[in-house]
């Protein structure tokens, strides 16, 4: 179900279920989300006054929308499986860590390890992301409107990282099969990460990612693609200097 239709249904047919973390505890919020069953009518949730709380809306496994009104601490949306979480603020370390599916949108900036080890779904950061964005990613798609910090996509295994701004040092160090698309400059590439040809299939893939992330006015042709040179996939003593 498209997000627009969902929010309309929520506003007309039923009120959002509101959780004010000034009144209710984090435990009550997460337990209520985990108690959801398939087909539940409680499809729209709103979290007020998160005030940097850790582990907001972690382990949600139903396709609900959760609007978090403010900034969150560590691991917001951790292991998300199918829900759509929007953080109307900034996110602390590990937002969307190990996400399985669904989507997380951060309206502000994100701290370290955004989308770490994510297996699937879409993480959109409308501001900047700090270091190690997409570390060890395993299938997640990450779109950052701003810049990303150093050591991003370290040991990235699978999935796509799209950066509209610049990337810090050692991008894609020890990368496996993940694809990196950067529109701005890259301070340096990590071990075994190289610039690669942008073929038609990649332009198409990138356009799809930009569309899903709600990015307009930016063309796929403005990006460069980076990925693995695959020279470190099997150990060879003559490559030892690369580490």
């Amino acid at each position: 179900m498209p997000a627009t239709k969902l929010s309309k249904a929520a506003s007309h047919d039923q009120a959002s279920r509101i959780f004010d973390l000034d009144v209710s505890s984090l435990r009550e919020l997460n337990q209520a989300l985990h108690n959801l069953t398939p087909g539940s009518n409680e499809t729209a949730w709103e979290v007020l006054h998160p005030k940097g709380s850790h582990s907001v809306a972690v382990g949600v496994d139903q396709p609900v929308t959760i609007d978090v009104r403010g900034s969150v601490g560590y691991y917001c949306g951790g292991m998300n499986s199918g829900s759509t979480i929007t953080v109307h603020g900034s996110a602390g370390p590990g937002v969307g860590e190990n996400m399985m599916s669904g989507s997380i949108i951060v309206k502000g900036d994100a701290s370290q390890y955004a989308g770490a080890t994510g297996k699937g779904g879409l993480l959109v950061i409308e501001g900047n992301a700090s270091s190690r964005c997409g570390i060890s990613m395993k299938g997640i798609d990450i779109v950052v409107h701003g810049n990303i910090g150093h050591m991003s996509a370290f040991m990235a295994q699978s999935g796509n990282l799209v950066v509209l701004g610049d990337a810090g040092d050692a991008l894609g160090d020890s990368i496996y099969e993940a694809r990196l698309f950067v529109r701005g400059k890259v301070d340096s590439l990590g071990a075994d990460c190289i610039a690669k040809e942008m073929r038609a299939e990649h332009l198409e893939l990138l356009q799809g990612l930009l569309d899903r992330a709600g990015v307009t006015g930016v063309k796929p042709s403005e990006f460069k693609r980076y990925g693995s040179a695959r020279t470190l996939y099997n150990f060879n003593i003559d490559n030892a200097d690369a580490y």
Binding site: H54, G59, Y75, N234
Partner: protein, 442 residues
């Protein structure tokens, strides 16, 4: 007849012994460090250096086959709504699907379940074989997060955050290309046939303050139901235990350097970390200093072989032990029946440790479909259960002889040491003396 001066007997160097010379030649020829499985093989102060005193005039024993000697243990009672209740204080350590075959993982689950204890996943995710056949399954949360997913996290009975392991404190996992079958590759989201060097640090936390937040997240995801273990290699057992407790662990697992690995550098196994015996008292001391002994449970692993080792570990203050290498031997690892095939691999039964090559004649540390058929999960599981029961009976025999109606009532006072080293490490007197090295200033 010519006179010949008497020759000297050829003398080999103690420093440059045959093994050392062979290793220099091997390194020069291949240009790669030696990689192998298992734990430290060098001689180390160990449980063999401790003895129980038994009953005497001042202590009376319990009847061997009549009076009850409790072996049960509850793990994770500090915070978890559903702690793990085990019939015996011997658990099966984490070993990955990938390093072990599917049938071997199934056999571990079957054996542990028959004996009333838990088994543990490894650096490769949870398989149906082990979930289906393990009544109580501990799900490891590792730096690589291979195969980590919400469904498996929720169907685990406990979660073990792995910071390190005794064979290689500070090192990550290693699974070389020859063992990366289609199934292993898919579970780990990596291409088939490439070397996998797992990360040594967690991707989304560093240090004890982050760990506390990570544990909170895992509890929130699993609704505070499951015990959270923290496993560390035997590096700094006092501080690691204290910091794990501070971070909120329900159970601390300390793995000494005899603890095995699927594969890492020989130089790492033999030169990094501390012997299991040296790790126990500092870990127990940390719990006692925090007032958390017996509230946060301590599991120790690395070189546990028999009921005497179990009893000695428990007497030093441990709540449960964990076995890996010994469990594999019970399944059939290094069995002399495969001697001809071990010889073809340039080794002999009892010394085979090239587990990373995936050619295990016993069919345990392999992904080869033909070799893995050699493990019958039902029969191998039965052997493991038998072995666990024997270890338990042995520990009970010793405990009753010391007058204890529970294995957990064994205490340091029941022990003496045969060597000064063991006396110092275990904090018990040297046999025949009242001297505990390091105590009272000398």
């Amino acid at each position: 007849m010519t006179y010949r001066n008497p020759p000297t007997t050829p003398r080999k160097s103690a420093t440059f012994d045959d093994y050392t010379l062979s290793e220099i030649r091997r390194a020069a020829a291949t240009g790669i460090y030696d990689i192998r499985g298992a734990g430290a093989k060098r001689k180390l102060p160990h449980f063999d250096d401790l003895l129980f005193l038994g009953a005497s005039i001042s202590r009376y024993p319990l009847e061997g086959y009549r009076e009850r000697c409790d072996t049960s243990v509850v793990l994770g009672s500090r915070h978890a709504k559903k702690p793990i209740e085990l019939k015996i204080p011997i658990t099966i350590a984490g070993m990955s699907f990938g390093s072990l075959s599917g049938p071997a993982k199934e056999a571990l689950g079957r054996g542990a379940t028959l004996a009333g204890t838990s088994t543990t996943t490894g650096d490769g995710g949870m398989t149906e074989e082990e979930r289906g056949h393990s009544k109580q399954l501990v799900y490891q949360y590792l730096p690589s997060r291979y195969g980590m997913n919400l469904r498996d996290l929720r169907r685990a009975d406990a979660i073990e955050v792995v910071v390190g392991q005794g064979a290689k404190p500070g090192g990550g996992g290693m699974l070389l290309g020859q063992k990366i079958s289609d199934r292993v590759a898919e579970m780990r989201t990596l291409p088939k046939g490439i070397d996998q060097r797992s990360a040594s640090r967690h991707p989304d936390w560093t240090g004890p303050d982050d760990l506390e937040i990570k544990i909170l997240e895992l509890r929130e995801i699993t609704d505070w139901e499951k015990p959270i273990y923290v496993k560390v290699g035997g590096a700094r057992p006092y501080y690691d235990t204290a910091l794990a407790v501070k971070a909120g662990a329900d159970v601390v697992v300390v793995d000494g350097m005899q603890g095995g690995t699927a594969a890492t550098q020989e130089v790492f196994i033999e030169n990094v970390g501390q012997p299991t015996l040296a790790c126990i008292r500092p870990a127990v001391q940390a719990l006692q200093d925090l007032g958390m002994h017996r509230k946060v449970q301590l599991i120790v692993s690395g070189g546990i072989r028999n009921g005497a080792d179990v009893a000695k570990a428990l007497a030093l203050g441990v709540d449960a032990v964990s076995i890996g290498t010994a469990a594999l031997v019970a399944l059939g690892d290094n069995d002399p029946r495969w001697e001809a095939e071990y010889n073809e691999l340039g080794t002999t039964a009892g010394a085979y440790d090239d587990w990373h090559e995936g050619r295990d004649p016993a069919g345990i540390t392999t992904q080869d479909p033909e070799l893995m058929k050699r493990v019958d999960p039902i029969a191998a599981g039965r052997r493991l259960a038998n072995y666990l029961k024997v270890m338990t009976l042995e520990a009970q025999t010793i405990a009753r002889a010391c007058g204890k109606n529970s294995l957990h009532n064994l205490e340091p006072e029941d022990l003496v040491a045969l060597t000064i080293e063991a006396a110092a490490m275990a904090g018990v007197p040297l046999a025949g003396t009242n001297w505990i090295p390091g105590k009272n200033g000398f």
